[in-house]
Amino acid sequence: MIGSLQTYQSIFSSAADEVRQFNTLLVIFLVVCAIMYTLVIAFLIAGILRRRRADAHVVENGMHHRQNPLMRTGLIAWGSLVGVGLIALAIASFVADRSLASTSAHERLSITVTANQWWWDIQYNSADVSKTLHTANELHLPVGVPVRITLHSNDVIHSFWVPSLAGKQDLIPGRENDITLVPRKVGIYRGQCAEFCGTQHAHMALVVNVEPYADFIRWWQHQLQPAVAPQTPLALAGYIVVTTGQCAMCHSIAGTPASATVGPDLTHLASRRSLAAGTLPMGKGQLYGWVADPQSVKPGSKMPTIPLEPNQLHAVVAYLETLK
């Protein structure tokens, strides 16, 4: 069961240095705990099996205040064993922690993730401002490159967590946290907000695409492009609805008048793998469903259901599909 599902959203993964560390440490802990548990259960069973003894120190033979010297030795031995076990675990944990901390020293890519109820705003930072990239809900990482992700929140506390890559960190309004990781395996991973953040906490997922460096650079270049101009009349009609209607009050699409930042950036919406922060897979049907009535797809979402005429809906979806 575990093998088959490995990497997608599970800690049984070796897709990054961090999760490998985690797994090694977990195994150490499990071994120590298993030994200790076995000892406890063995003692329990032994106690149960011995119960019919005639010479037990019990009330019935008036010896109940007698202390068994063997048990006194046993207590000391047990106490020391527990002490040693815990010290060993604490040291293992310390070592893992140090080696995790050492990656943070030489990061080569800097990303800022800002959490919102209930989606992720993502910015790829670059010294060259024209290369700074704005997107949402889908993270692309080049394999083998240490990355630092700076974490902010615009509203309540969320938690950034991609189980197959690394542990989690909270995004706290008014504070800045960060997480560093080195992805090691190309693949698609799913992350999910881990701190309860209100109604749609369950639908605040994130797709992480770990890809070869060249692919990553190509992706970045592509994402920096503004949205393509609508080619068909239907798409054009959609373009008009989106950029002059209510959509533009929240979203931005680079290269168009829509430039609000309340909701996720839509410039390359159709190039992403999922819709509404992992609520739906990306696709025409899902776009229809979402645009027509977000409140029934993701009740409580901050995106209101906007009444659209059927032809407007067709147009909007047609336009959104062009945002590759």
Binding site: L30, C33, S93, F196
Partner: protein, 653 residues
């Protein structure tokens, strides 16, 4: 008053003092019982029922109320489990689900687990210590009513569809004015106020009772381990509750009068909440767990036929757990971005608390080894406790490690951990001890066969429900999600958990059915059915209102085992008025005779007045001002003597 009048008054009092009736060789047996019964019984009728200050009645109400909340909280858990049985299930919507786990967690922690332990203690501790009453019996009654009203308010709000939906630890800013408009979060915060007033009152009652009312000769080193556990727990409540009280008052005032404690835009800090909450919240889990270790000690001692091995070690373990518990709160906040240099320190600190627990476990097992255990139902629950709790404790050690917790935090692995320790560590011993003390409380035995079936089903059902949750967590399932997508491998563990949850529920139901059936049909209990050693079994079952005809004297840790023939007792307490004996704190030598308050409606009225104040303050801050007046009047009337004539010896009317 003129001196002459004063002297006359003193002479009258001296005269009356001679006519006081006391127990002793001249007044004993049936005559004494009748006399005590007349003095101690409460007024009849419904008002008398409300006015009672008998710790046994209050304790029983506490236990029954808490068990009802267990059923209610458990019913909500079943709804959650139904929703989670399948991926993308549409049975329960997002906001309703959020209410469910908030209500479930808050009910279980604040309205079930802590109060049930207090209730058992309030019932049994005075009997165990060989006294007639708790200290401050009216405060005890007040404590119960505050608890009841807090619970009614929360569940009333649920019925009116304004239940809180912010989780049982209500993190700011989600619970603050901006992100939780409406009254839901206020309801939660005021429920906290009710239960904390109640728990603090109960804690003060227990400390005073345990320190001052023990039977003569019951030195601290002869005190039953359950009393030790409750002493430590009461002290922990006293130190921990103020923290959540402060946190929730600040939350309410942020919401109600616009203070900025948690508002980062106005120099506040959202993390302040987490520090204050967990400074309480972590000790809280040991407040639930330590009484259960007391139960285990009681059961192990009786059923292994010998005192618990290494009594001083167990006592020290209790005390050190109590102290260490205040240093661990940060382990709930590992993911908040604490200074990295501290990580290893927090890890080590969290792990040290495993040492006293491990020592206690050894002591119980050594007692079994040295004794001759009898496996009746309470003892089965102890075995179930060890097998289950240790798994939870070990998963606790795993998540105490920062690098591990950063992955596991806020996942179902944590949900598995805390149900293992809460249910395995506290509910199993509780069910065991309820079976054990059932004859004491009701005079009848619980049915053994049903009890055994119940044990095995709950034990196995529990593992089925909660063991798979470890895997759900490792497979990436965060907690507090109302649904999860198909294809992540979460289908099987969740389905198993749901099936298991229903088995657990059925076994709890069976326990209740067994209790109700046995209440009317159970075998009549002999006075000391398990042949136990402690003083609660020295009186009849159920005990008379005055508990003991004479105050017993204690010469060892296991008095009923060591006094083979007659029981030594002291005499000379008043029996024409309610009176009990106080002893010194350490050596338990007789110190004072203490009048015991008569039944009174005022604690109830004061609780009603305070309750109105708390609830009204959700709607307007002025309620605090106007509500304080009736509350102050009620409290004054509570303490004001109802009879202004001087008595030969003090009485509390």
């Amino acid at each position: 008053m003129k001196p002459a009048e004063h002297d006359k008054e003193e002479r009258r009092l001296a005269e009356e003092r001679k006519r006081i009736v006391r127990d002793g060789p001249k007044l004993k047996g049936a005559k004494l019982e009748a006399r005590l019964e007349r003095t101690w019984r409460r007024p009849p009728g419904f008002l008398g029922w409300l006015a009672t200050v008998d710790h046994k009645e209050i304790g029983r109400r506490y236990i029954v109320t808490a068990l009802i909340f267990l059923a209610l909280g458990g019913a909500l858990a079943l709804l959650m489990r139904l929703q989670l049985a399948r991926p993308d299930n549409a049975l329960i919507g997002a906001s309703r689900f959020n209410e469910l786990f908030t209500m479930h967690g808050s009910t279980m922690m604040f309205l079930f687990a802590v109060p049930v332990m207090e209730g058992v203690a309030v019932y049994i501790i005075p009997l165990m210590l060989g006294t007639r009453s708790t200290g401050f019996p009216r405060l005890n009654a007040f404590s119960y009513y505050m608890y009841l009203f807090g619970g009614l308010m929360l569940w009333g709000a649920f019925a009116l569809n304004i239940a809180p939906d912010i989780g049982w630890f209500a993190y700011t800013p989600l619970s603050g004015p901006q992100f939780s408009p409406g009254k839901r979060a206020d309801i939660w915060a005021q429920m906290i106020t009710f239960t904390e007033v109640s728990a603090l009152a109960a804690a003060v009652v227990l400390v005073a009772t345990i320190l001052k009312t023990r039977a003569p000769g019951m030195t601290l080193s002869r005190m039953p381990l359950f009393a030790w556990a409750m002493l430590v727990v009461a002290a922990m409540i006293i130190f921990a509750m103020p923290s959540v009280a402060l946190a929730s008052s600040m939350l309410i005032s942020d919401r109600l009068v616009g203070t900025q404690f948690y508002n980062q835009f106005e120099h506040g800090d959202a993390l302040l909440w987490q520090h204050l909450f967990w400074f309480f919240g972590h000790p809280e889990v040991y407040i639930i767990f330590l009484p259960a270790t007391g139960f285990v000690s009681v059961i192990v001692e009786t059923f292994c036929r010998r005192p618990v091995f290494a009594y001083p070690v167990v006592v020290l373990a209790l005390i050190s757990t109590g102290i260490l518990a205040f240093g661990l709160w940060v382990h709930h906040m590992f993911a908040t971005g604490l200074p990295r240099v501290g990580y290893s320190f927090y890890t080590a600190a969290s792990m040290t608390v495993a040492v006293p627990t491990a020592l206690q476990i050894f002591c119980w097992l050594a007692t079994m080894w040295d004794g001759r255990p009898r496996f009746e139902v309470p003892m089965l629950y102890v075995v179930g406790f060890i097998v289950t709790f240790v798994i939870g404790g070990l998963s606790g050690v795993i998540i105490a490690s920062v690098p591990l917790d950063l992955e596991l935090h806020d996942t179902y692995f944590i949900v598995a951990h805390f149900h293992y320790v809460l249910i395995g560590g506290a509910v199993f011993p509780l069910l065991g001890i309820l079976t054990y003390w059932f004859p004491k409380i009701t005079g009848r035995m619980m049915n053994e066969t049903l009890g055994k079936i119940g044990f095995w089903t709950i034990f196995l059902g529990f593992q089925l429900a909660f063991f798979p949750m470890h895997f759900a967590g490792l497979l990436g399932m965060p907690r507090r999600v109302y649904t999860y997508p198909a294809g992540l491998g979460l289908e099987l563990p969740n389905l198993l958990s749901t099936i298991g949850a229903f088995v657990v529920a059925a076994s709890v139901l069976l326990f209740v059915v067994n209790g109700l059936w046995s209440l009317y049909r159970g075998a009549i209990a002999p006075p000391n059915p398990w042949d136990a050693a402690s003083l609660e079994w020295a009186t009849t079952s159920p005990p008379p209102v005055y508990n003991f005809e004479h105050i017993p004297v204690v010469q060892s840790r296991t008095p009923l085992w060591d006094e083979k023939g007659e029981l030594p007792v002291v005499t000379g307490l008043r029996v024409d008025e309610k009176e009990t004996l106080l002893t010194t704190v350490v050596a338990a030598t007789p110190d004072l005779r203490e009048p015991v308050p008569q039944a009174s409606l005022w604690p109830f009225i004061a609780a009603v007045a305070t309750g109105i104040l708390f609830i009204a303050s959700i709607f307007s801050p002025w309620a605090i001002l106007f509500g304080a007046i009736p509350a102050a009047i009620a409290l004054t009337a509570w303490f004001w003597p109802k009879d202004m004539k001087r008595q030969p010896e003090p009485v509390i009317t």
